[in-house]
Assembly symmetry: C2
Homo-oligomer: 432 residues x 2
């Protein structure tokens, strides 16, 4: 009769829920102060939304099923297609640029690993309707604003930045055809996931040309824009992409986060839809997968049947972040143990008709209040109050039967005050 939880999912008991709320509340707070408005999509979308565009990898790895109406549905594995659908649906009535954030629950039918589960939360921020490089910088600033808010510094995290425009121009300069680019992106994105030898072999096989393969390897390992500029010589498209990266870096410096920046042409991003600057945040020296990533995707809205409108965004899962915050000791100190304002105790039975009147009035006036279902033993109740982290106890005992007075005990100092119940109640209502 005992049924286990589903593989790759998490149960959020109150302690785990407090961590989840701490992370998500931080994401929301930082999104709002950076000018983003919250939206959300359903968790179910038509499967076609993913078969159509996101590349084969993601489609193989999602949960999908036929409903009773014979529709192919999927549990959403990412937010961007839903965002594109929603924006396209109301494209004419939405003021632009659109700056939206969301924290969807996402699903991937992959083998669960450390930092990668089948069900997780992902912070998304997107700016739609401007091709300004300032928006690209703002997406990264907002990401870093959260990471700093969470207590991480440039000693902990690095933003690795590259450009699909640069990569495309470079690959085309090696006579790789436009149509082959999405496949190349997906393959190059796997470089960090395999040993250098294996990757080189895969690349050689794909290109059947050792010279081009070694040029691509060298490109992906270059550690500065200056070196790229020198090594690639004159090519207008490459120059444009480099100048865009330089301006982007300048803006991030102006925003005060340049110290987190690292140019890294090894950053490709697997999804086919990126078109411009792409980035990933990694733990410094860590072996964790990317903490988050994103970039410009100027064609996606059009691909989903909408107008030709530029867009840039970022997605940030909760699993890797939680591991990192825990490793750095940044979780426990921010997560408060739940507290009660009042715990009401009594050695009278509930028959004493003031007990629930008082509990109810405290709660209705906004005080976090609790009590024990067993009113036989006062000291047991006071112990429960301590365990539940109550700031104050109200004791309904002899003083109440004698003269309608209650005792208010400060649980930190132990100080006790005896107050007529009417006076206490009046004070309560006036404290609103």
């Amino acid at each position: 009769m005992k049924i286990p939880p589903v593989k790759g999912t998490r149960d959020f008991y109150p302690a785990e829920m407090a961590v989840r709320n701490y992370i998500i509340d931080g994401w929301k707070k930082v999104s709002i102060r950076n000018g983003f408005e919250e939206f959300d999509s359903p968790i179910l979308e038509h499967l076609q939304m993913y078969t159509q565009k996101s590349g084969a990898e993601i489609v193989e790895q999602l949960f999908s099923f036929k409903d009773r109406g014979d529709r192919d549905l999927a549990l959403i594995p990412e937010m961007t297609p839903s965002l594109a659908r929603m924006v396209n649906q109301k494209i004419n009535s939405l003021p632009k640029p659109i700056k939206w954030f969301s924290v969807p629950r996402l699903f991937r039918a992959e083998r669960p690993q450390k930092g990668r589960l089948r069900e997780f939360f992902q912070w998304n921020i997107d700016i739609i309707g401007t091709d300004s490089i300032a928006a690209d910088a703002e997406i990264i600033f907002t990401t870093l604003d959260y990471l700093q808010y969470a207590g991480l510094s440039e000693n902990d995290v690095v933003v690795k930045v590259s450009s699909r425009k640069l990569l495309a121009a470079f690959l085309k300069s090696l006579s790789i055809a436009e149509n082959d680019l999405p496949g190349m992106y997906a393959m190059l994105d796997k470089k960090p996931k395999m040993p250098a030898d294996t990757f080189a072999a895969v690349l050689n096989e794909k290109l059947s040309d050792k010279d081009r393969a070694s040029k691509i390897l060298a490109f992906m390992e270059t550690d500065s824009l200056e070196k790229i500029k020198k090594s690639l010589g004159v090519n207008q498209k490459i120059d444009d992409a480099i100048n865009e990266l330089l301006e982007h870096h300048r803006l991030l410096n102006e925003m005060g986060v340049g110290r987190f920046y690292k140019f890294d042409p090894g950053i490709v991003r697997g999804l086919a839809y990126y078109t411009g600057i792409v980035f990933e945040v990694h733990a410094v020296g860590g072996e964790l997968r990317a903490i988050c990533g994103g970039g410009r995707y100027d064609n996606l809205l059009k691909d989903f049947g909408g107008p030709d409108i530029p867009a840039v965004g970022m997605g940030f899962g909760d699993c890797v972040l939680e591991i990192l915050l825990r490793e750095k000791g940044l979780l426990d100190k921010h997560i408060k143990k739940p507290e009660l304002d009042y715990f009401v105790v009594s050695d009278k039975s509930f028959e004493e008709n003031i007990f629930f009147d008082l509990v109810a009035k405290l709660r209705r006036n906004g005080f976090i209040t609790d009590f024990s279902y067993k009113t036989d033993n006062l000291s047991k109740q006071l112990k429960t109050a301590s365990e539940k982290n109550a700031k104050k106890c109200i004791i309904i005992s002899k003083e109440y039967s004698d003269s309608k007075q209650i005792i208010v005990k400060d649980m930190a100092t132990g100080e006790q005050q005896t107050i007529p119940i009417d006076k206490f109640m009046d004070g309560l209502i006036n404290s609103k």
Copy 2:
């Protein structure tokens, strides 16, 4: 290429998201002040969890599928089985009584109707580990605490209360067998959903006994406990159930919410697992389905392979509530239009290296700040600031190039202050 949303789901654009957040934030706030701690389950559970216990109706109406590991999974249609699973998993380490709340996203593969969608949110509160009738009362008090918090009074909503114990004792007194009770509950629960004639006919057919059918009909339409007591005569189990209802009502009176109470033996609840007092909240005189409902379910944990531990709970969906709050004019006045603390405008291009420095510092210091990606036209930017509900604008213009001063404009009064940028920045950091 345009893909529609999935039938029976909702897109939450920022305006709809604000309504959802207002509702869910209220549920959370009221739960916490009533001493509940938040938890959550995965959205996926093993299908067996529902086939095993919840009765045929719910199983027919859920989304389920086989995953690649050939496991039968379901999108959760209700929270209580997941709660039972989670509590059972940690039964020995959890301090009791357990008072938990959650706001899961739930899924039902039914025909969408007004107030009933395929994907919705549901507030759940549960108290596990006490058979105190005070817990039954507290569940209803907490429900009403929210309804009053949302602005509804006894003129708007009524809590209809009955008892499965009473109904079971009554049905057994008519020689209906224990085994037939779950089927009877499911059928009797449908009474409000069909015309009186139809229901009477269904009942006659089910019992093949007009006398018992008319007794059941009469029972379900009795409007006071006193009349039930009189009409049913002496039967210990019926008496016990009635006394429990009387004590429950007394406690709700003491909690100050007796005016919402109505005894109504027509309230059955469809799910098989209820064992004691059950209730539903309805709009007064409304034709909407129940706003929420719940009751005692003392056997469920045991049924899910755990120990024999009593429990009581309530579930409250967002769809009917939203319709009701909107009808009563209680939504718009509580939902604030998003505001900005600052909007930074400039007739310099972004080249002026103070612009993003200032935007970033404002944001990092917790001020909700935005700007326009086009800095060509000052008055256009000020118009955008107004549209975005900015409290203050910071103008970087001639004064800045001349003497490093910025203008801070109060958007409500129109008042303008010219301040040296350094002084403003210092003030900002000290305002933290």
